[in-house]
């Protein structure tokens, strides 16, 4: 989590320089869902994500240089500078794809699980999506199919309470939590504190065990919160759609702060070690950015490349 936070904060700080010409949705504040779930996965398990995909990419083991180079539009980017921040992928480590259209990768994750099931491959397929996707038809179509076919899918809804600037309570029925809608399809489902990485990890492990033992999908609703603006590196309290009080409330429940406190209280590490890790990550990302800036842009001769196989 600390590595992801450090990487994203460094990128956010450099974003205003204008070198990263790609709409960027930061995961800052939501790292525990990505890390907790991906810690429960094997390399061969598949992960799909949406527009806010940095944390999922990194937590699944996505190559840092590939991500930074993609943001800088370089040929060395994970999508060769053709995809940008919202289309991160690293299939070699099971990070299959991310997409900027709401709910698209819920269906593709179900499809990959379908392929696993057809071939008796023992893997699970995970789809990360936000509370906004719950309003899309494809969410329901995909859940229905996954249940009917008993597919090994872990649905992970990161409920950060906002779709762009629209609050959840104005978009969905107040009294029916999202995980309950999954239950209405007959799916095993649970809600978890999405800012508590251990709770997310334990729920993911339980979900994956259930998928393996009982067959069929599992649904995890992680309650979390986006600290920064919907898209872009800034804080957006001035915009008036949410209060500073609300943001302070969630920042006090920072997933990294909580995890650090837990680790320290258990004597699992020392404050000095935490500082050391932070420095290591800072050095890693700065070095990566430095090396990426020197890398070539894609050659315009290759503009059409990859359109067809």
């Amino acid at each position: 989590m600390m590595r992801i936070r450090t990487i994203e904060e460094t990128i956010a700080a450099r974003y205003p320089e204008g070198e990263m010409r790609t709409p960027t949705h930061f995961s800052i504040g939501q790292e525990a869902t990505a890390v907790g779930v991906c810690a429960a996965l094997k390399t061969e398990d598949a992960v799909y994500s949406g527009h806010r995909c940095h944390a999922h990419y990194l937590a699944k083991g996505g190559n840092l240089l590939g991500m930074v180079a993609e943001l800088f539009g370089r040929e060395a980017g994970c999508a060769r500078g053709r995809g940008g921040s919202v289309h991160l992928n690293d299939p070699g480590v099971g990070m299959i794809a991310s997409s900027a259209i709401m709910g698209e990768t819920i269906a593709t994750a179900v499809g990959t699980a379908f392929a696993f099931a057809m071939d008796n491959r023992p893997h699970v397929s995970v789809t990360f999506f936000g509370d906004g996707c719950v309003e899309e038809g494809i969410f329901h179509e995909s859940m229905n199919f996954a249940v009917m076919r008993k597919l090994p899918v872990l649905f992970v809804c990161e409920n950060n309470l906002f779709s762009v600037h629209s609050p959840l309570y104005l978009r969905q029925p107040r009294d029916i939590p999202i995980y309950a809608r999954a239950q209405s399809y007959g799916m095993l489902a649970q809600q978890v504190d999405g800012n508590n990485v251990e709770a997310v990890y334990e729920a993911a492990v339980k979900g994956i065990n259930d998928i393996r033992k009982k067959g069929g999908p599992f649904f995890l609703e992680c309650m979390t919160y986006r600290w920064r603006e919907h898209v872009g590196p800034l804080f957006d309290t001035g915009q008036g759609y949410r209060t500073q009080k609300e943001i302070d409330h969630w920042m006090a429940r920072c997933p990294i702060k909580q995890a650090s406190e837990t680790a320290l209280s258990r004597g699992a590490c020392t404050p000095d070690q935490i500082k050391l890790w932070k420095n290591e990550y800072q050095t890693e990302v700065e070095k990566t950015i430095q090396s990426v800036v020197g890398l070539p842009f894609p050659d315009t001769k290759g503009l059409l490349e990859g359109t067809y196989s």
């Binding site: 999508a79 289309h87 299959i96 794809a97 698209e104 593709t108 179900v110 499809g111 995909s142």
Partner: protein
């Protein structure tokens, strides 16, 4: 060589490809039912069973994505829409993801997949059950779009689709299903982007997509009686388009008529006309003529439906105007779907 009907050629191509590649499966509403998509999936279901030929819930968009996710994980889906109009529901996944996958994810993996969409025709199918979508989907880079009119072509193109790694959309006009011709028993692929010169001629070029290639052939028969030699070209694949064959024909004849089962505005006929204007203008002895559906949704009532579709006679009339000829149109023609009474 034995003859097959269009639907039999589709069935044979699917069965032969499935026999050689265990990753191919066929999915769609009704593919395993007793009618088996106008017979095209019956034999595959009989041979390979419900694990590889199966019904799905009504979820066109999700299933386009599910098939994409399965294709990326090593499968080779064949998705069937008994009416292609339902592909509008799947167009987000097809256009925003399937078509762009290889490009926008940096070329690492492909989406090998065949999507079949059947265009209704006859018996008052109406506004939402008889549209031709080849022209709309052909707008988007990343897809191959094919709409052949003849049995041997549909077989050969399906083989190419199931041997390749690009997502392919196949549009089958229901009126073509009874067309019969000799079809190779072997697995002989036909390349994308290669037109078929259905009939050679020297006076006028008729380019017809899908059913209109067949109707153009019927028009050419009528024109022949008046001494007009029409060359008929079936592009077979809408994207990529065989520009060379069409241009070579215009160079030979100097006259061009284009017919399509969709609408003129921004469509297939506009594309071919643009090709002639940009690269073939020096060959043209007369203006280009375009024939397509009337510029309204498809009506149901028989006289309206008859007035709606381009026909061999309307193609003949267009050719006649370019040739400054009076062709004797004594014999009224029967519409190819005149006797169609279902199943739908």
């Amino acid at each position: 060589m034995r003859k097959l009907k269009y639907w039999e050629a589709i069935s044979e191509a699917l069965v032969q490809c499935m026999a050689e590649d265990k990753n191919i499966f066929i999915a769609g509403a009704g593919v395993d039912d007793p009618r088996g998509i106008f017979g095209t999936t019956l034999e595959a279901y009989r041979r390979f069973g419900k694990d590889r030929v199966f019904d799905i819930p009504n979820c066109e968009n999700a299933f386009a994505g599910i098939a994409t996710g399965a294709a990326v994980a090593g499968k080779r889906p064949v998705v069937v829409h008994a009416r292609d109009d339902f592909m509008f529901l799947a167009s987000d996944q097809i256009i925003n993801l399937m078509a762009k996958w290889k490009y926008m994810f940096g070329g690492k993996n492909s989406v090998p997949m065949l999507v079949r969409g059947i265009t209704g025709r006859g018996w008052g199918q109406g506004a939402t059950h008889s549209q031709s979508l080849h022209t709309m989907f052909a707008h988007f880079p990343g897809l191959y779009v094919i709409a052949p009119a003849f049995p041997s072509d549909v077989k050969g193109l399906i083989i190419s689709a199931l041997h390749g790694n690009t997502p392919v959309l196949l549009f089958e006009n229901r009126a073509c299903y009874q067309i019969e011709e000799e079809v190779s028993e072997e697995l002989v692929p036909i390349p994308f982007g290669k037109a078929r010169v259905v009939r050679e001629g020297k006076d006028i070029t008729i380019v017809g997509a899908s059913l209109m290639a067949y109707e153009a052939l019927r028009a050419a028969d009528i024109l022949k009686e008046s001494g007009v030699s029409a060359e008929v070209i079936d592009p077979r694949s809408i994207r990529p388009l065989d520009r060379e064959t069409i241009l070579a024909s215009i160079a030979k004849t100097g006259r061009l008529v284009i017919a399509d089962t969709s609408w003129n505005l921004y469509g297939f006929t506009a594309e071919i006309a643009a090709l002639a204007a940009e690269e073939g203008w020096q060959y043209l002895k007369a203006p280009v003529r375009r024939l397509a559906q009337a510029d309204c949704p498809a009506p149901v009532s028989k006289p309206l439906e008859e007035a709606f579709h381009p026909t061999p006679l309307s193609i003949v009339k267009a050719c006649q105007s370019l040739m400054e000829l009076d062709v004797d149109l004594r014999k009224p023609l029967t519409d190819i779907q005149e006797h169609f009474q279902g199943p739908y």
